[in-house]
């Protein structure tokens, strides 16, 4: 598909769009939180891809390239509109949910609720790294490339997220025990 596209094949371009438009939106919207802006950026990213297609290496991962370009484009547009100034302000509105149909007797609703609450309290960067790594299937190196950080940092961010998660869960457990004692 990639190679056909590089050679100017319209069918390959269309297949690529169909395959990635949805996942790109699902990622980009979480950063931009603006429908119109995310859609404009998706369009721009594909146009840039068209313009530069002959200069792209044949081995580049399409998905990685698109994610990286989309993030950069969204941040550029947000900056233009003075809606964000530095890396620290990048938001990532990911809401972790648990599909009820997977709940069974062994797993209590409370346990899942606590986990979700803790996950949803994680800082934006940690959520973004987890999202890219575990829900979009990028490698550590790709997560780092998309987020503009060193691969070792991507690894650290996810490990920090796990630490934070432990702390949040322990804290919740303590609260739960305390409330139990009091009640």
């Amino acid at each position: 598909m990639w190679e056909d596209f590089r050679q100017g094949d319209r069918g390959a371009f269309s297949t690529m769009y169909e395959k990635y438009a949805g996942v790109l939106y699902n990622y980009g919207y979480k950063i931009a939180q603006d429908r119109q802006l995310t859609e404009d950026c998706i369009q721009d990213v594909f146009v840039t891809l068209l313009e530069y297609r002959q200069r792209l290496a044949p081995t580049d991962s399409i998905k990685f390239y698109l994610f990286k370009a989309l993030r950069r484009e969204i941040l550029r547009k947000l900056r233009q509109q003075n809606r964000f100034a530095s890396e620290d302000e990048i938001d990532f509105r990911a809401t972790f949910v648990y599909e009820d149909s997977w709940l069974d007797g062994q797993l209590s609703r409370e346990r899942v609720g606590e986990l979700l609450q803790a996950l949803n309290q994680l800082p934006a960067r940690q959520k973004e790294a987890i999202f890219l790594k575990y829900f979009d299937g990028l490698s550590y190196a790709e997560v780092a490339g998309v987020m503009g950080i060193e691969p070792s940092s991507a690894y650290k961010i996810i490990y920090k997220a796990l630490d934070k998660l432990q702390k949040l869960l322990t804290f919740q457990l303590v609260l739960l025990l305390l409330s139990g004692r009091i009640g």
Partner: protein, 347 residues
Amino acid sequence: MGSSVPDYSRYTPEHFLFDEAFRRWVLNPDPEANAFWTGILRQHPHLSPVMEEARRLVPGLRVRTDELAEASRKRIWDQLDQRFDQLAEPLPLRRFGWWNPRFAAAAAVLALLITVGWWYLRPPARQEVRTGFGRTLTVRLPDGSEVKLNGNSALTYEADWSEGRPREVWLSGEGFFRVTKQQNPAGKIKFITHTPGMDITVLGTQFNVNTRRGTTAVTLIEGKIQLTDRRSRQTRVFELHPGQRAMRRTETAPLDVQTVRTEIHDAWTRDQFVFENTPLRDIADMLFDTYGLEITFPDDLPADKRFTANLSRQNVETLLTVIAETYQLDTERTGNRVVFRRRHLPD
């Protein structure tokens, strides 16, 4: 990270929840992973409830999806499609060679030969024949075989066809092949047509090959033909019989073999347009690929509307007129853009 085994003994359910190997095992178990994780459990029996809990958490955990609206998906595509026409030069002809791994090897050998002294061992010259939009051309190959090229197509072949070696050509676009039978003491000599999607091997026969838009379609008129799938590692050989058409829409799609009216698919070789329940979209694609014409139909005329016609000895102008008359449309032509509009009847 991936290579060394982490210290699982201190893992909590959350650690397992975000452990790549563990997730893969839960979501797509295989015997190897089963053995690995059973081994971990045997080593660390205290992990049993921990892993059990993580195993239940993994499949249900999701991040809420932000969905691209269908209307937006379509709107963006329509604009990209237009930009494609402006940015992609009308179907740049493929430079031969990039898609054949054998050429990569040949290039490496060539580089070596150059350092040795290219004047001793000059590689055989290759001939390349191209056609412009709306032009056809018949190429006579050194072995007497003939290839008729449709508009905007290219055929590459070696100038020197030494005896005993398979005859090989490379096609992009569309071509109709009339291959002669050749024999030497070792047996019959193969004729191989390379396309981006597959290799077509024959001994002597007539067939049409269309390689537009990532699709490869081979229609056999007579004789017997072998199709070899080059993208998948293993060479899968399909045999095609007269009147059959093999088509692959994308590189990953399976090969689809159908019995067809071959005269529809080789009509162009007789300067005919033959359509039988052909979607207007396909006709627009063909007009773009072969004639370089960009066709726009009115919004209220569905692109999957089917068109049937048989026009002999006609040019493309007549086809446009027939389409316009069939659907009561007006035609406006600027350069290579043809816009069909609803005909406004006088009040």
